[in-house]
């Protein structure tokens, strides 16, 4: 490629400093492909190398403007990602705290386990709780598609910490009981976390089927 075009790309690259390296490389790769195509088309019309290169650059725009606009759009993407991360975390956290309140009547019923049998009741408890977490994941993914997994991960961590904190408050019951309780909570938390991710995945599949493109955020 002509040296003027290489110098131009170097100037634009210098202005793309705020961008992550991978993103910067991709932007420059796309601009390079464009300039190469325009340069080849200009040469095919019988123009000289220098004249073609200058025309191509005049058509493309000043490197300061191109660089500034590219960075501004990247920052817009970062703001949207940040909004969706906190939005997904807040949405999932609210649902994770609120929806289990629906299960409180069932917890009373737990003490009537001799009626349904402990295994059947545990399975139902897990399933019902799983549906709640699936809905939390699906809702967060629907409303905030760009950083859903990361946001839900934060919400789940906070919720898990809260569960352990609540469990620890019962330490007067003895550490053996607490340890058993923690293991019990941990297993439930892991299962519910998987249900949450299942909700996110289902929304992602639905969105892909509708739009032809996955919108689930990167982690």
């Amino acid at each position: 490629m002509h040296s003027l075009l290489e110098d131009y790309l170097a100037e634009v690259a210098a202005r793309l400093g705020p961008l992550p390296a991978k993103r910067r490389a991709e932007e420059l790769r796309e601009m390079r492909a464009h300039l190469e195509a325009a340069y080849a088309a200009g040469l095919a019309q019988g123009q000289s190398d220098d004249e073609t290169a200058r025309d191509v650059l005049a058509q493309f725009g000043a490197p300061e403007a191109v660089g500034a606009e590219t960075v501004a759009v990247w920052r817009r993407g970062v703001r949207l990602d940040r909004r969706d991360f906190w939005g997904a975390a807040a949405c999932a956290l609210v649902l994770m705290f609120l929806l289990p309140r629906l299960m409180e009547p069932l917890q009373t019923a737990y003490f009537h386990r001799y009626v349904v049998g402990p295994l059947l009741f545990t399975a139902f408890f897990v399933f019902f709780g799983g549906v709640i977490y699936l809905l939390a994941g699906a809702a967060a993914s629907l409303l905030f598609p760009r950083r859903t997994v990361a946001g839900i991960g934060l919400a789940w961590s906070i919720h898990l910490f809260w569960i352990f904190h609540v469990g620890f408050r019962a330490r007067h019951a003895g550490y053996g009981v607490i340890l058993t309780q923690y293991l019990y909570f941990l297993v439930y938390a892991l299962i519910y976390g998987l249900f949450c991710l299942l909700g996110v995945w289902l929304v992602s599949r639905w969105r892909t089927a509708r739009t032809g493109r996955a919108r689930v955020a990167r982690g």
């Binding site: 796309e30 080849a40 493309f60 725009g61 606009e69 759009v73 993407g77 739009t211 493109r213 919108r215």
Partner: protein, 128 residues
Amino acid sequence: MRRELAKGDLPALVLAVLGEGPRHGYAIAREVERLSEGALHLREGTLYPALRVLEQDGLIAGTWEAQAKGADRKVYALTEPGHREMGHRTQALRDYATLLHTVLGKIGQGAAEQGKIGQGETGHAQSA
């Protein structure tokens, strides 16, 4: 007459061009030039930020594809929301163009009437 494309009109034009089929950035620029018969001048460096915004909004999707000749190119296509949005934005642009035409037409009529009145007054003055 060559006219620079307004920045705010670029996304709608990009969506309209992609409505005809997937294209990479250079092809979009050439298509705009071809359709306008060279009258619309596009600062091609602004095309890629506009494409990025449309990608962020989920209206288009870009994928890198190997080309028969030359380097790989990122080819863009409309998503389903993009098809709907293209319809809205192109209609909004058409409505705006019609509105401008109407307003300018009325201004032109008004100016012509002012000119006739002026001629009439001059005619009276001359005959007097």
